[in-house]
């Protein structure tokens, strides 16, 4: 176990990335996108200003779910799909802790799909980082609930016949208050999204496109590769028009109920015609639309898609308890024991 080695400033320990690296050997396949996610997570932690002992990483089962072993924080590698339940109980009982759920596409959307819906609708104040590689890696290459239709894998030799889920669409449908996407190959962007997720008060859902170089290599390369990224991804910025392209000359416009890609300067189109990104919009319709935009018809949106405020479950729970104590007083068992009709036997 590595102990904090930073300086003390005003009695507060200043931590560095190294303080979050555990003594466990990292055992993902060389070249796996999970390395990048781990590195950015370790990098962002000291920036958040939380005492290390108050941070807890909870995961389910799968390649991604090994991550807590490598973080020198409190952590639990639990059972398949159930990390949100454990995290919910921990956060509801200890609201002062910073709780992070690490999960994958199979863990969060197949076996644990139900829990994902409910943690989001409750808006428990925690972060959910979903490593989406569109494949089952740990069990060696079966299709996942986000695999594209028709995908050939070990368990679908002639192609899958079940339609994939879109994680962000699911999250929005579950009333998520914070929905974001980032990619493993853009560390700088990922750090920004992780910071925003932490700052959000409520459930923060982040999908990370993560390359599985063994079983699904290049799944996202068509649009995440450095040379095409600017043309094929839409970097969302709050309050800014949705512009993309190497030349910054393409944008997204609403046409009726549909988005469309337009070129600035063509047919008299100006920046003013483009959709302006508003992550705080109470109505989720545009966020829903963004969550469905995919390459090659559209650039793939990344960044914070939605960030709205709604009371959190843990705050409401605390408030109910404080209210009960204020109104009824601190509970006394002597009174509770004798509630209702009692009688004395002489």
């Amino acid at each position: 176990m590595v102990t904090a080695n930073g300086d003390k400033k005003d009695g507060v320990q200043v931590l560095s990335r190294k303080d979050f690296v555990s003594d466990q050997e990292v055992r993902w396949c060389p070249g796996c996108g999970d390395y990048s996610i781990l590195a950015q997570t370790q990098k962002v932690m000291p920036e958040l200003g939380i005492p290390r002992e108050n941070i807890v990483f909870i995961s389910g089962i799968g390649c991604s779910s090994r991550l807590p072993y490598y973080m020198d924080t409190y952590g639990m590698h639990s059972i398949h799909g159930r990390a949100p339940t454990i995290a919910s109980g921990l956060k509801a009982s200890r609201p002062e802790l910073s709780v992070w759920v690490v999960t994958g596409d199979g863990d969060a959307l197949s076996i644990g799909g139900n829990h994902l819906l409910h943690v989001l609708r409750r808006n428990i104040d925690l972060q959910i980082i979903l490593h989406n590689n569109q494949i089952y890696g740990l069990t060696k290459g079966q299709y996942s609930p986000t695999s594209e239709l028709g995908k050939r894998t070990k368990s679908s030799p002639v192609g899958t016949i079940d339609a994939p889920l879109h994680p962000l669409t699911v999250a929005l449908g579950a009333e998520a208050t914070f929905v974001a996407r980032t990619v493993d190959v853009d560390p700088h962007h990922m750090v920004g999204v992780l910071e925003r997720a932490y700052q959000h008060h409520g459930s923060a859902f982040c999908e990370v496109y993560q390359n599985c170089n063994i079983y699904n290599d290049g799944a996202f390369a068509d649009f995440t590769a450095k040379e095409v990224r600017a043309d094929r991804m839409l970097f969302l910025e709050h309050g800014k028009p949705m512009i993309f392209g190497k030349e910054r000359n393409k944008g997204i416009r609403i046409n009726g109920l549909q988005p469309e890609v337009v070129e600035i300067g063509v047919d008299g189109i100006t920046e003013a015609d483009l959709l302006v990104h508003d992550e705080t919009r109470p109505d989720p319709t545009i966020a829903f639309m963004l969550s469905r935009m995919s390459y090659p018809d559209f650039p793939v949106p990344i960044g914070v898609i939605r960030a709205v405020q709604r009371p959190t479950y843990d705050d409401l729970m605390t408030a109910q308890i404080e209210h009960a104590v204020a109104v009824e007083g601190e509970g006394d068992l002597r009174t509770l024991f004798t509630e209702g009709d009692t009688w004395v036997v002489e």
């Binding site: 002992e53 949100p84 339940t85 200890r94 829990h115 509630e339 009709d341 004395v344």
Partner: protein
């Protein structure tokens, strides 16, 4: 039922007979308010000093079609001038509010028993719904009972003519008329119920007045009509002195859990998904917010136990509760708690299975599920309350063990204990022993899976403790460090350590006490809710001179340390269970004792006679 004294009240008054025990069953449509009439009768009987025991019989359907057989709801209360341990085998009195209630309950009423029927409801339509070919009130089929035909609906309506309530509202009051009549028949005062009605309908004085009026009308009907030649008195029981209240097993369980939380000085966190017959515990605990109790109604049974494990990881008392089908869903997560070695209490209020089974009916079918229903070698402690009020003690005990040994503990109750009620001698809170909780705090010595030499429990290091950051998980862990390990020798060691830790709880629980002879003859060994019937049956058999003793297990894993030795002292061992012999399998397998069983799985408690007959075959 024995007549003790005879007291003449003069020729114009019905005579008053003294009885030592009476059992009444109220039965009617599920909308007829029978549970309410039954609980009110119980409260009053308790307040006048009888020992009491109750058993509600609730249909699974919330509102089955009115007047239909599945829609019948019943409530049995037994009250006595002596100590009693069961709600009675068979009712002495059956109050049947409609033909369906008569049809489904009459078989339990002994010949010569008192039958009170609401004759207004014996219409052609209702008779058809109850599948009667002819009217039992007319066709002579009730001749062997003391049948009283009372036009309860009409009398109730007449009493409330000027109440200003609608016809539907008036009809809803008729359970109070029936209750008033029973109060007269058994010489009970009305004031407890009058007080309750006033409180309950405080916001609606019209409804309160109507209920009180018809309650009194029912009482007066008994007093003035010449229909009843006799009424009865059941004197006070001799009970241990002290302050009492009536309590159901589920209420006692909830109180026990919140008490454990106070004794341990730790927050109670209850994760649960509604399921019959365990939901009452969720309802109770949800009221205890000013005790800092947090209740989490989860999206499913798995989330409920997951949340409890999360709470325990954080240093709270993580509790989950369910019935059999829910326990099946929680299995994997309980295995995780075994592997993590976190304190966790899992309440199972058993019901008739398998699968959905009969949700409102009782059974003892989950013992082996608790013991073995997980993958791998996955030992948990199991405790089982013997009576409704014992649920309080064993709920505290479950937490004491869970915390001290850092292990999941199953609290194994059942529908009969949970829904049934009995008087509870209110404990002195200040005399209850505290439950010590020790958290790890010293980074210099902390090792996640180093063990206490006596209990083998690893330390409990909770998030928020500086420099004790560590990772736990469901993967096998190396001894001491807790790092992931696939080492064969380590796995073998850890499997043995986890088993040994649970086995060592035996050093920390009371020895089994035998009631009866020290040795020889028949030993009746029971567990859980069968305590009352076994106790009564054994007492009766001993009164007849039979060599029968009894012992009752409240700790099922590990067993009390003297159980093996106790079993060798008797010629025969009988294990009655409401399952096909689950404890018997454990006892035979563990001690090589040729125990025999009594196993009737009818969704209802044993009767005393069931056990007496089986004893008769063996002793």
């Amino acid at each position: 039922m024995t007549t003790l004294t005879k007291e003449s009240q003069g020729p114009e008054h019905p005579e008053l007979l003294e009885l030592d025990r009476v059992t009444i069953r109220f039965a009617g449509d599920s909308g007829d308010g029978m549970q309410l009439a039954g609980t009110q009768f119980t409260k009053t009987s308790a307040v006048v000093g009888n020992d009491i025991s109750t058993f509600p019989d609730i249909p699974a359907e919330i509102r089955a079609p009115q007047g239909s057989l599945p829609g019948v709801s019943g409530f049995q209360v037994s009250f006595a001038s002596t100590e009693i341990y069961t709600p009675g085998d068979a009712p002495d009195v059956l109050v049947a509010m409609n033909p369906a209630a008569l049809k489904t309950n009459l078989a339990d009423l002994p010949r010569g028993g008192i039958l009170v029927v609401n004759e207004d409801e014996f219409t052609e339509t209702n008779l058809r719904k109850a599948t009667y070919a002819s009217n039992p009130l007319e066709d002579g089929s009730l001749r062997s009972y003391r049948t009283f035909r009372v036009p309860i609906s009409t009398l109730n309506a007449r009493a409330l003519e000027d109440s200003g309530l609608t016809a539907v509202q008036v009809d809803r009051c008729k359970n109070m008329f029936a209750l008033g009549l029973m109060f007269w028949l058994y010489s009970r005062p009305l004031d407890t119920t009058v007080h309750w009605i006033t409180e309950k309908f405080g916001k609606n004085p019209g409804v309160a007045a109507a209920n009180i009026k018809t309650l009194k009308a029912g009482y007066a009907f008994g007093e003035t009509t010449e229909m009843f030649a006799t009424h009865y008195h059941v004197p006070k029981a001799k009970q241990k002195p002290g302050l009492y209240r009536n309590i159901t097993g589920n209420e006692a369980t909830a109180l026990g859990f919140v008490t454990a939380s106070k004794l341990a000085g730790r927050q109670l966190f209850y994760g649960s998904y509604p399921i019959t017959p365990a939901s009452d515990v969720l309802h109770e605990l949800a009221r205890f917010k000013n005790f800092g109790v947090k209740t989490f109604q989860a999206e499913d049974e798995i989330a409920a136990v997951g949340a409890a494990i999360g709470a325990s990881f954080g240093g709270s008392l993580g509790l989950t509760g369910t019935s059999g089908p829910g326990l099946a869903l929680k299995s994997e997560a309980i295995g995780l708690a075994v592997m993590l070695e976190l304190p966790l209490v899992v309440m199972d209020v058993q019901r008739a299975g398998p699968s959905t089974g009969m949700p409102t009916k009782t059974e003892q079918g989950d013992l082996l599920q608790c013991m073995f229903g997980r993958n791998g070698e996955s030992p948990v402690a199991v405790v089982a309350p013997a009576t409704s009020s014992d649920c309080f003690n064993m709920a505290i005990e479950a937490w004491r063990i869970a915390i001290k040994y850092r292990t999941p503990v199953v609290f194994l109750s059942d529908g009969y204990l949970g829904m049934g009620s009995e008087p509870w001698l209110v404990p002195d809170y200040d005399s209850l022993p505290k439950i010590p909780v020790v958290f790890a705090s010293d980074p210099a010595t902390y090792k996640p899976y180093a063990r206490d030499p006596e209990t083998l429990a690893p330390p409990w290091a909770i998030p928020g403790t500086p420099d004790l950051e560590h990772r736990v998980g469901g993967l096998e862990k190396a001894d001491i460090t807790g790092n992931v390990s696939y080492d064969p020798a380590n796995h073998d060691k850890m499997v043995h350590l986890r088993a040994e830790k649970v086995a060592r709880i035996a050093q920390d629980i009371p020895e089994l006490v035998v009631d009866g002879d020290e040795r020889g003859g028949l030993l009746v060994l029971g567990w859980g809710s069968t305590y009352g019937v076994i106790m009564t049956a054994v007492q009766r058999a001993r009164a007849q001179g039979k060599r029968v003793s009894m012992a009752h297990l409240r700790y099922l894993n590990p067993f009390p340390r003297n159980l093996g030795e106790v079993l060798t002292r008797y010629d025969k061992v009988l294990i009655p269970e409401i399952n096909l012999g689950q404890l018997r399998l454990l006892v035979r397998g563990t001690f090589l004792v040729d125990a025999v069983g009594f196993n009737k799985v009818a969704g209802r408690p044993f009767t005393i006679r069931d056990i007496e007959e089986r004893i008769g075959e063996l002793a």
